[in-house]
Subunit: 396 residues, 2 copies
C-alpha cells in the first residue's frame, strides 16, 4: 500500500466529525500495514439508509487503499438494543427477527462496501457460547458510575426513567467485539463515542493496542430536523426503488443539499463550494442540484442507467404531469361498479377511506389526467388513476 | 407434620429480626406441607462462626418439625463477592479457593443442621452452563435504579466509590437460586433484606409463589462493637478447638451475654430473663454466666464431655494459673543454648522477636511458673514456657 499523505488527509477530513487519536491513526495509515477497520451494525431493522452510508463510505474509501473491513453483525447486541442517543429502552428483538433483518441488511451493506475486502463476523461466534464466568470477568472491569456517565444513561437516570441492567452490558459487549476481531480502527457516528472509547479501554486492559476511533457526523433526515431514522420516517433507504430515492431526494429541504453532497457523494470539495456560491447568489435553482444529488446517489447504489431513468421518469411524471409508461395494475372486483374511493383503497394508493377522501378533497386525484372532486365517480376498465404526487394505478 | 401454634410462634419470635410476610409464613407452617427452606452461603472464607449459626439454628428448629433444608453453596456468587452491608468491593476469589472453602464449610454446617434433612445444591449446577442469553434475560428484568437503591450500593454510589457492574448481578443471581430450588422460605441476616426481596420479586415474575423471608439479627462480635466477622478477628468459629471457644466466650463483654444466650443457645426465655435480673441486681458473677454460655455452645458443637473438659481446663490453667496436663512440645535446636526469646519464636508462641520482647516486657512470660524479665534467660530441656494468657510450650 502506497498512498499519498494528501489522499489520507482528504479521507480523514471530509465527512468526518472526530478522530481519536488522529495523529496515531494517520501514522498507522502511512505505515503500509493492512489495517483492520471495524464497524458493527445491529440488525434491529431490516433496512439501512443514507445515515448509515456516511460511515460505510469511509470504509469503502479505505478499502480502496487496500485495508480490510471487518463487519460485525450485532446479532446479540441487537437483541439487547442499544439506546445510544435515545431516551428510552428499546424493545428486545427475538433471535429470529434479528436473523431475518441481518439477511437484507448484509445485501444492502454491499451496495456500498466491497464485499471481497470484507470479513463478516457474527457476534454469535463468540457470544453463542459466552458463559456467566465470561460475563463476570468482563463486567468486573467496569464500574456502574463509568457506564452511567454515558450521556443518554445519565439523562435517563437523572430523570428517573428506567435503565435495565442489561443495557449496561451493551457497551462492554461492543467493546469485547473489538478485542475479538483485533480491531485497529472502529467507525461509528458521534452518538457512538462512549461505546467506541470503551472498546479502546478494554483492548488496552487485555493487552491489545487500543483501536483508533473515527466518528462521522449524524445525517439529518429528509425532514431537515431529526437524525435520519427508519422509525421517524425521514429516511432514504439504500435499497429503495430508484424512483422512490429520486423523489425523496427532490423533497429534501434546500439547506441540506450541500451536507448531503459532502457526506454521501464523491463530488469534489471545490465543486461543492461552487454550488454553495451559486445558491447564495441565486445562480442555480436548488432543484437542479437535488437532481444532481439524486443521480449521484443512484449511480452509487444502482448504476448510471438507473439514475438516468429515474431522472427522466421524475421529469415526465412529476414535473410535466405526464403519465408513466409502466405502472401497477389493479383488477376491478365488481366489474364496472367500483367507485373511485373504493378503487384507491383496493389498489393500495391509500390505506383508508379517510385518506382517500382527503386526497380527493385536496384535488390530488385524477382519472385519465382529469382532476376529479366527486367521490362517487366510477372507475372503469382501462382507466388510469393518479392519487398523490407520483402514484398511479391502472384499472383492469 | 403436626405442630402446635405455640411452638411455631416461638420459632418465629426468638432470635428473629423480621419475617416477610409473617402471616403467610405461619399459614404455610400450619398447612402441614413440607416446606423448602433455602439458605445460601458463599464459601468466601473457609470457616463459619456464631454469626452464621443464628440462622442455621432456625433451620435446624424447622428441620426438627419435619421441613426440608435446601442449602445453596454459592460457588458462583462467592467468586463475584457480595458487598451487602459492606462499603467496598470484595476481591474476587478463584474457583479453586471457593471449592476448598466450601469443603470445610459444609463439614461445619452439619455441626448445626441435620445432614439427613438437607439438600445441598451447588450453584454451578445451573450457573455452570448459564449463557449470555440467560444473563440478558435475567438482567433485563431489573433496572439499574432498583439495584442502586440497595443501602450499601446507594451509599457507595453517592460517595463516588466504585461499584463494579458485576456487583449489580449479585442480587439477581441469588434471586435466581430461589427460582431454581423453588424455595418456600429464604433465611438470612437483616443485611440480606434487599437480596431476599429480589428473590420474591423474581419468583413472582416467573410464575412461582414468592418465597417468605425470615431475617435474623446480626450477631455482634467478641469486641462488642462490630458485626462478627472473620476478617475483623472478633469471631468464635464453630470448628475451633473447644478450649479456644471456651476462652473466647469468657472474653466477651458482659453486655453481650444475654444476646448470645438468646441467639445461639436453647436456654429457655424464662431462664434468660432470670439471668438478666440477677445481673442487674449483682446477684451473679457474669463469669458464671459466660461459663454456662461456653458449655451450652460446646455441647451443641461438640458434646457434653468436651464442654466439661474445656471448663475444667480453663479453670485450672487460666483461673488458678495451673499448668495444663498436655501442651505442645518444642525441641531445642542448639541443645542447652537457646535463649527465651528464640524459644518463644521457635515454638510459635510469638511470631516475631518484637512480639516476644513485648510479651516479656508486659510480664506475660513465665518459665516453670516463674515470671521472668531478662530476655537473655536460657531455656533448658524440660522447661515449661508460658507466653500470654493461655499459651504453653514444653522444651524437649
Amino acid at each position: 500500500m502506497n498512498q499519498s499523505e494528501n489522499q489520507i488527509d482528504q479521507i480523514l477530513k471530509r465527512g468526518v466529525a472526530e478522530v481519536i487519536v488522529e495523529e496515531d491513526f494517520k501514522k498507522l495509515l502511512l505505515s503500509g500495514r493492512k489495517l483492520r477497520l471495524k464497524e458493527g451494525f445491529d440488525p434491529s431493522s431490516p433496512d439501512i439508509h443514507l445515515g448509515h452510508m456516511v460511515a460505510l463510505r469511509k470504509l469503502r474509501q479505505l478499502q480502496d487503499l487496500g485495508h480490510q473491513v471487518v463487519l460485525i453483525v450485532g446479532d446479540w447486541t441487537a437483541q439487547i438494543g442499544d439506546p445510544s442517543g435515545a431516551s428510552v429502552t428499546r424493545p428486545m428483538l427475538s433471535a429470529e427477527q434479528v436473523k431475518a433483518n441481518a439477511k437484507t441488511y448484509l445485501e444492502q451493506f454491499f451496495k456500498i462496501v466491497d464485499k471481497d475486502k470484507t470479513e463478516v463476523r457474527w457476534q454469535s461466534e463468540w457470544y453463542g457460547n459466552f458463559k456467566l464466568e465470561d460475563v463476570v470477568r468482563l463486567s468486573s472491569k467496569f464500574t456502574v458510575a463509568q457506564m452511567l456517565a454515558r450521556d443518554d444513561f445519565a439523562k435517563r437516570y437523572a430523570a428517573g426513567k428506567p435503565i435495565s441492567v442489561t443495557e449496561l452490558l451493551y457497551p462492554m459487549l461492543q467493546a469485547y467485539d473489538s478485542v475479538m476481531v483485533k480491531s485497529d480502527v472502529e467507525f461509528g457516528g458521534t452518538d457512538q463515542k462512549f461505546n467506541l472509547l470503551v472498546g479502546r479501554e478494554l483492548q488496552e486492559m487485555v493487552g491489545q493496542k487500543p483501536q483508533q476511533v473515527l466518528m462521522v457526523p449524524i445525517l439529518v433526515g429528509t425532514d431537515g430536523v431529526h437524525k435520519m431514522s427508519k422509525s421517524l420516517g425521514n429516511y432514504i433507504g439504500v435499497a429503495e426503488d430508484p424512483s422512490e430515492i429520486f423523489g425523496k431526494c427532490m423533497s429534501i429541504p434546500d439547506e441540506l443539499i450541500l451536507q448531503y453532497f459532502e457526506l454521501v457523494t464523491d463530488i469534489p470539495d471545490q465543486e461543492i463550494a461552487d454550488f454553495k456560491a451559486q445558491m447564495e447568489n441565486g445562480q442555480v435553482n436548488p432543484m437542479i442540484l437535488k437532481k444532481r444529488l439524486a443521480s449521484e446517489l443512484l449511480t452509487q447504489l444502482y448504476n448510471a442507467t438507473a439514475a438516468q431513468e429515474a431522472d427522466a421518469r421524475f421529469t415526465r411524471v412529476v414535473q410535466r404531469g405526464e403519465i408513466p409508461e409502466d405502472m401497477p395494475e389493479c383488477r376491478l372486483e365488481n366489474g364496472q361498479n367500483t367507485g373511485v374511493i373504493d378503487f384507491i383503497i383496493l389498489s393500495g394508493l391509500a390505506k383508508s377511506k379517510s385518506e382517500a377522501r382527503r386526497l380527493l378533497e385536496q384535488g390530488a386525484v385524477e382519472i385519465n389526467s382529469e382532476k376529479i372532486s366527486d367521490q362517487n365517480t366510477p372507475v372503469k376498465c382501462g382507466d388510469i388513476i393518479k392519487a398523490g404526487k407520483r402514484r398511479y394505478s391502472k384499472a383492469i
